[in-house]
Symmetry: C2
Subunit: 326 residues, 2 copies
């Protein structure tokens, strides 16, 4: 484990325990199958990053209430719900090193459990009694489904632009990070400036995380990732490393890359050749640089808060977006 | 068309037009695929019963605001979202006389469009600014997914009791009717007694509608129903006519019915024999009587409201639950 990760985990240990307890608590009254399927995705070693962000942001804004961990579970439920539906959409085999729920059970079970988790999240949001929070949560769900639909519509389409890619990852990833941070500020009753600053922090962090994730799909091996390297490409998903490389490549190399995009059963040798081309045309470096810019923007957004342990943890989480291995 | 249906439609003509306009309006800003898939289920001749109920209940409580039709779309979106997911869960072929969305497109598209419609409904709910309405909507979603999961878990299980059946149809159908009526009263700022009365009306109406629906599956032909007769049985769903008949049948007949439940590819002759047994053991009559009791309870709940055209329409809708043919 990297030093940074160790440091972050030490700082949020108590919050993590509270989140785990709240997650189990909120699912407990539900019957067997729901708990099993929901548990399969919820208790498979997730980082709890989204609920942690909500709690840190609430604390940074001076929140002193008792329900932060409970409200924070909203973001893990929403996350788990979309994972359940996305695995079905993507036809993925593995998630977090385990077979996906729609294979352990079946598609209907995965769909309905996703619906249930989404609804659970919304019910908890309703319990905050804050209409702005509810609007945020509803907006997250709307954006995420739209992002996934757009991504699905453009599968295998090599003409996807960087701007279109950014819009997809904003919808499918950044709005949830953004919403978690914004909600933290809102439940702490922070002023508009602080709410906006933490919203910006969440947005940039989310974009950076997704870009780093998209990089890992090309640079990481199966064991660390908990799924197959090259999975995005296999599913026809164009991400920034490839989009950038395609825009710079010679006609011949561009044709080679497009051919691979259209052939999901590529072999390891072909994949390695593609990664070499992504490197050669600057796709890897460009993506890393873009992610680093978003990390910097996230940290800048924290500038208006006085130094504190909580602010330091949020800074560390931003840095971690770039160094994480899985 | 029955006289009652003609009368109801004449009474709600203006509301229906407003609902259609609001449905199109709320979907308009969204991109092609979403509009197409959502439109496939939304504009396939649905009765708009749930949004109509919300509007009538709001009017009965003296609502004078302008947004009733917009808020009413929530209930059609939620309904359409669950139909999209349920068709996938049930493996159905036809819905409202058309092939189901997950066959016209595919499972992922149906799942994500369902998610989007659900989220749209929640966003509109957030716009009411009424936390009680939001709680109702979140609760509906939670109950409906649970009801579907329970129903799926018990597929083909001939030991399902009448009480368990009631709980399933409460979750999967009655909560949405109940929620639409309750929301109508809430946006009209009605007092607790009226809110509760219309909640009870919606609950009993929903139960009656589902029981009538379950009856139609045994008594109606394909053309009127827009789907195959015996579909529930084919999907292993036990409904009240069969549950009641099983509890009264001789051992031999019980075994014959269970055998059919376990054999989804039964022929027309076998299905006719089953319907004859349901009749013989009182399953059809009992279900009709139970539905009639719920219709009566729904109408009784309207007792505290003074006579008005709106109250008459709600009474007519209750009666229509029993006489409708599809």
């Amino acid at each position: 484990m990297s030093d940074l990760k160790t440091k972050i985990i030490a700082a949020v240990k108590g919050d993590l325990a509270a989140i785990e307890a709240a997650l189990e608590d909120n699912l407990n009254p539900y019957f067997d199958l729901v708990s099993q399927v929901a548990g399969h995705i919820l208790f498979a070693g997730g980082k709890r990053l989204r609920p942690l962000l909500m709690i840190q942001c609430a604390r940074l804004c001076g929140h002193a209430g008792n329900h932060a961990a409970r409200f924070a579970t909203i973001f893990e439920y929403l996350h788990a719900a979309t994972l359940l539906h996305d695995d079905l959409v993507d036809g993925a085999d593995m998630r977090r090193g385990r077979p996906v729920a729609n294979q352990v059970w079946d598609n209907p079970t995965a769909v309905l459990t996703g619906d249930f988790l989404l609804a659970r999240g919304l019910s908890i949001a309703a319990d905050t009694g804050l209409s702005e929070v509810i609007r945020v949560i509803a907006g997250i769900t709307e954006n995420m489904s739209q992002g996934e639909i757009r991504q699905m519509e453009r599968k295998g389409d090599s003409s996807l632009t960087e701007a279109e890619y950014l819009e997809v990852i904003r919808c499918k990833t950044a709005v949830l990070f953004e919403g978690a941070c914004r909600t933290g500020a809102l439940i702490a009753d922070a002023g508009a400036e602080r709410v906006d600053a933490l919203t910006a922090y969440g947005y940039h962090l989310g974009i950076a995380f997704q870009m780093a994730d998209d990089l890992l799909d090309y640079t990481q091996d199966l064991a660390a990732l908990g799924k197959r390297a090259g999975a995005d490409l296999r599913e026809g998903k164009l991400t920034l490393p490839l989009i950038h490389a395609l825009s710079r490549a010679s006609e011949t190399d561009r044709a080679r890359m497009v051919a691979l995009l259209e052939k999901p059963d590529f072999c390891e040798r072909e994949f390695a050749a593609l990664v070499a081309m992504l490197d050669q045309y600057g796709g890897i470096a460009y993506t890393r640089a873009q992610a680093a810019e978003h990390v910097a923007a996230a940290k800048t957004a924290l500038g208006q808060f006085a130094h504190s342990r909580t602010r330091e943890t949020l800074m560390d989480i931003a840095d971690y977006a770039l160094v994480r291995k899985a």
